[in-house]
Amino acid sequence: MAALFNVRKALGVVMGRGGVRCFSQLAELPEIHQMLRQTCRDFADRELAPIAAKLDREHTFPAKQVRELGALGVMAVEVPEHLGGVGLDYLAYSLAVEELSRGCASTGVIVSVNNSLYLGPLLKFGSEEQKEEWVTPFTTGEKVGCFALSEPGNGSDAGAASTVARQEGEEWVLNGTKAWVTNSWDASAAIVFATTDKSQKHKGISAFLVPLPHPGVSLGKKEDKLGIRASSTANIILDDCHLPLGNLLGQPGMGFKIAMQTLDSGRIGIASQALGIAQAALDCAADYAHKRTAFGAPIGKMQAIQFKLADMAVAIESARLLTWKSALLRDAKKPFSKEAAMAKLAASEAATFVSHQAMQVLGGMGYVTDMPAERHYRDARITEIYEGTSEIQRLVIANLLLKEYQP
């Protein structure tokens, strides 16, 4: 009797109080997740936050910190242990990205791109050989990957890929230009989407694994961005890039599906990054509200400031619950695209709203680099654009929503 109880209890602990489908996890996280969250928060406070301003000013890739994060296990959260990862779930990944982004948003996106956009499709669509070659070396923080879907001519219109790939004997040859590739200058591999059969339109796109550096592949200049400046963003130019046949990921024509499914999960990562930025901005504003005095009292006593802080907190908390829910649904292997899109939409709009208001609370101090509010404002903006603009998210949500009401 006692043994049975212990087994059930142990299972409950492993699966999180009665199974991953249990939404009581939204109220209190399982112990592993709490410990993981604490580790990431400590790392962010001690290793990332102190250098974030400098990394931003100097556009430096935090190589040392990324290696340390690899040792912590957060560069490959979902990767199974036999491939070098931790074998944890998406809720854990979401918590990790949020806490790290709270310290440094650039580091958050570097971690997110490696986990969701690079390792994600490999885990789902890669063969065993491909996984050994392209996954395991990218779990330690020594190497990071990137995801090349957008082009100068198309972003939201992902089906119009003009980068082409033709088969020549025992090789693929790729030609074209990819744009806005995060991590490009620091990556050792890229997942590149190219059209293999133009007549099939978006069903004629395929995904390829491209090592970096590689003959026939060059990088455009590093974009000079408004925010997340410690992560590199650049074009990837393919000029007769030859790849072995084994570098095709999945089947020919599967590329669009791979991209869309990958972005579904990536949305949870970006939502988490946006939450981290928003939380950092709120922390900054609330702290300031206690200390700054005006008209004889701390400004936190004034309703104008209180209403702002309350709205900020509500925006973050609701976006966080949406994000956790989408992660839990994904972990339970249930459909999660609508919730993930909602999470990304809510979190990114929360990030821009909260960082805007935080700067307002700080007044003049929010506008100068002495305080981190201006960096949060700049970092937040991109979350509404990349990995699916807010407009695309709305389309995704509306489509799935209307399907539910199909007469």
Binding site: V13, V14, E31, I32, Q34, M35, L36, Q38, T39, D42, F43, A71, L72, G73, V74, V77, E81, V86, G87, L88, A92, C284, D287, Y288, H290, K291, R292, T293, M365, D370, M371, P372
Partner: protein, 301 residues
């Protein structure tokens, strides 16, 4: 082969603003964030390093308290301890638990587990007692190396460099011994995800103080708990010209007024002054004491 017992205490997190209960019987702990005492983290780290150097074979983490201390033990397991012991103490007994009772428990466990060393944090950041290590050593009749900033096991002895008021003191003590960790002993590692996962599988044994023959009766009664006095604004004085005014003159320089200078730099927590209090691991800690000439090698006790 050698086994080390490490005591870990669950305390209110160092970054939390402490509030006194309205009835002044103690501080508010309900719903307040708790974590492992920072000096205990350093103690665990040192024990795990000794295991990695293959000087000792097993690290056993011990904590006394209610169900929640298991989180603290599990953090120790995630840092590399091999197994845990949860000494169940709850309710009024837990409120009255102090260094005397804990040291009796640790002494009993050290004997039971045949430990070669007991490593503790030098003090806890909630009560600042700095007594448990010393009492445990006395109860066991073992030598002690307290305020350790360096620990080196050499065969059957331990060389301990201690941070004392006058500088650094090096002593050599025989095993088995009690060592208490000071701030600069090491930098505790992060609990990595793989280790957090592994910690789930490590065992935590439960034991009651009565099973160890320990009487928990306290000889101390807390009468009242109050907050430290509120920070006073500086005053404006008359008469001292700016050239003669130095910072050390207590707030009587011209121009000193309340809330001078706007906001404090981001991240600094407002603490009422004077602040003798708890020891977070802080950059503003004084520089380590300079080593004195006379490094004595004493075989103590």
């Amino acid at each position: 082969m050698a086994r080390v017992l490490v005591g870990v205490k669950r305390v209110i997190d160092y970054a939390v603003k402490i509030r006194v209960k309205p009835d002044h019987s103690g501080v508010v702990t309900d719903g307040v964030k708790h974590s492992m005492n920072p000096f205990c983290e350093i103690a665990v780290e040192e024990a795990v390093r000794l295991k990695e150097k293959k000087v000792i074979k097993e690290v056993v983490a011990v904590s006394c308290g209610p169900q929640q201390v298991q989180e603290t033990i599990r953090t120790a397991l995630a840092m590399g301890a091999d197994r845990g012991i949860h000494v169940e103490v709850s309710g009024k007994d837990y409120e009255a638990l102090g260094p005397l009772q804990v040291s009796k428990i640790l002494a009993a466990l050290a004997k039971k587990e045949e430990a070669k060393m007991v490593i503790l944090g030098k003090q806890a950041i909630d009560d600042d007692c700095n007594q448990t290590g010393q009492m445990t050593a006395a109860l066991l009749d073992w030598p002690q190396g307290t305020f350790a900033s360096e620990v080196a096991v050499e065969g059957d002895t331990v060389k301990v460099v201690r941070e004392i008021d006058g500088g650094l003191e090096t002593i050599k003590i025989n095993l088995p011994a009690v060592v208490t960790a000071d701030l600069r002993l090491n930098t505790p590692r992060y609990a990595t995800l793989p280790n957090i996962m592994k910690a789930k599988k490590k065992k935590i044994a439960k034991v009651k103080p009565a099973d160890l023959g320990v009487d928990l009766t306290s000889r101390v009664e807390v009468l009242r708990v109050d907050e430290p006095p509120q920070r006073q604004a500086g005053g404006s004085g008359t008469g001292v010209e700016s050239e003669e005014c130095t910072d050390t003159q207590e707030g009587l320089c011209l121009g000193d007024g309340p809330n001078q200078g706007g906001p404090v730099s981001h991240g600094d927590w407002d603490k009422p002054e004077p602040e003798p209090g708890p020891e977070p691991l802080c950059v503003c800690d004084p520089a380590p004491p300079v080593s004195t000439e006379s490094e004595q090698w004493d075989t103590v006790l």
